[in-house]
Subunit: 394 residues, 2 copies
Amino acid sequence: MYSEKMYGYGAKSSIIREIFSYSQARAAVIGKDRIYDYSLGNPSVTAPKEVQEAYRHTLTDMSPLEVHGYTAGPGDMGTRNAIAEDLNERFGTDVTGANIYMTCGAAAALKIAMCALYEEGDELLTLTPFFPEYEVFSESAGYKFKPVTSEYGTFQPDIAKLEEAITEKTKVLLLNSPNNPSGVVYTKEKLKAVARLLQQKTAEYGHQIYIISDEPYRELAYGAEVTFIPKLFRNTIVCYSYSKSLSLPGERIGYVCVQPEMEDADKLYLAVCGAGRALGYVCAPSLAQQVIRQCVKVRPDLQPYIENRNLLYGELTRIGYECIYPDGAFYLCVKAPDGDTERFCEKAKKYDVLMVPGECFAAPGYVRLAYCVDHEMIKRSIPFFEMILEEYRA
Amino acid sequence: MYSEKMYGYGAKSSIIREIFSYSQARAAVIGKDRIYDYSLGNPSVTAPKEVQEAYRHTLTDMSPLEVHGYTAGPGDMGTRNAIAEDLNERFGTDVTGANIYMTCGAAAALKIAMCALYEEGDELLTLTPFFPEYEVFSESAGYKFKPVTSEYGTFQPDIAKLEEAITEKTKVLLLNSPNNPSGVVYTKEKLKAVARLLQQKTAEYGHQIYIISDEPYRELAYGAEVTFIPKLFRNTIVCYSYSKSLSLPGERIGYVCVQPEMEDADKLYLAVCGAGRALGYVCAPSLAQQVIRQCVKVRPDLQPYIENRNLLYGELTRIGYECIYPDGAFYLCVKAPDGDTERFCEKAKKYDVLMVPGECFAAPGYVRLAYCVDHEMIKRSIPFFEMILEEYRA
């Protein structure tokens, strides 16, 4: 009498959330300082001072009716113009507010973009490893979801495998760089090769293939250049979120950008509006939109993440673990010493070190450590990583 | 290359929004004081002082990481418990936080409830007049949407017509009292008759029929009793929003309540969680959740709406218009003098009086006036209503 499909999505709870719940219960027993929880991608850096001040000013300076009132469905035009201007300055694009659709975070942006593009029979490809909700969003939008295995050990796109996977039915390639869960930033060369391949396949099959670029970690890169994909491939829809960059994950604020030079850009933008409407998104939260309008140029303080990355990567490789060097985001993939991630996670759990098995992300043989944590926690956890590896050597 | 269906939802823009845009453009030309805009249901009463203070306190007293961090998918447990307690106190229910799922407003709540219940072939009924988005939400969820005509002149449920409309495929009856666009509050007798009919039909067809009760106007009733429908009919999902009651329409905060005594309540609740997940709702906006936790017992200041209702209804009937007496919400249905609403709206527009034709809400022959406006605007508009009626008499 209810939808079995939706029940399935609700009942099969996320392993990450389960570990997090275990962590909270365990912390209540042995104390927070003795839990080494690397499970959750919740920013550990406080929202920048400018953002906190924008919240206060907005509530003081604007009338409550204005602050908390409906905005237009696609969002406040002042906010959208400010975002467009910032994109143009940084990436040399020709975006206007009319190309921006404000969303309740990246999840909503992805779901809306997928629904706006979907036609009967379409397939959606993504590269491993990937955020597990991609499968839920795309399948429930109607797509056949097809993960494409990336190069093992680097998690860069495997162009040959991608070529094999593309069929007449391929409508979307969903990319995520900097990547969750690997922290890998795709190189410009690889992305150029991806773009060439999609252009070639578009010509071959005579219909458009789109990139949906999921960019919540765009600002979280530690030296490596994050290529702005629309500059390489015209038919790219950008999905952005301020969750990680401005440490506002709970506020659900982000956007979809439909580049003006995309084919049928105006109609596609209306399809985005229509998808948002049909999915029940009336407008993105209005106060958060006002804050973003004032903070489009604010960038996160990366120093804590860089220090965490350097400490964790440095120590784990020194001890003898095999890790994939993360250029961005706040995730590190560590290889299970004998390839058995379940065993690795179980061993770690005995020392109250909590990690997520890579199988959740189609990264078999690896575990994911989210290092958006207290720096001291990382330090305290290192001896346990040594003991865990000792166990394998014993 | 994009979804024609979503393009359709995006391109066919809402007439209400169109009138509102016209109003803003016209106001820029002739001045705001000379426009009599009755088109939009945006609360004209400022958010209560307690709500404004809760916003400020939350940002000052809680750490930004806590305020702006992810909550659990179904929402912050403190907020959910507070809502459950308030419902129990007011309606004698046995709800707990585990029955509440926080949403991005009523639109999200409705869409999520519809998706949680939908099985192939299901039909959804609603009573005329109705909020036009009901059709968009239910159709895009898969339902066949079937409006049932209400009693003409009172807009109370027509039990005979409802009985005719129910078939083996009927899964949901969507109710909205106090009603948008009529302001009518369904009487307890009528709702009891609806409940009896659904029970009888459930027995007859051997499968459950559900009520989805859309209650954004629950607190906006001016004397008439608003019946809490789950007390009359067990299988009722309540969809609530703080948009109108606390004047926070842009903040997108509301909830779904799955009563514990519903059939398969636990599984249905998981289906609600799954639908929220699949639709891209990660959690309801976190700051707004904290504000609601502190303000569940705050009620709106109804006096301005009562004064507006009395003035507008009193004057229009005095002049000679036929109106449906509104017991709640902030809408009034006025009959077009010759039954032609398009002509009525056009005549009014000449005097810069802006109204929405009832055809938008399946209320032919009527126009909707949203009286959530400045009291003085109503006063200034009355002479124009007299002139309009004079034109018909000439």
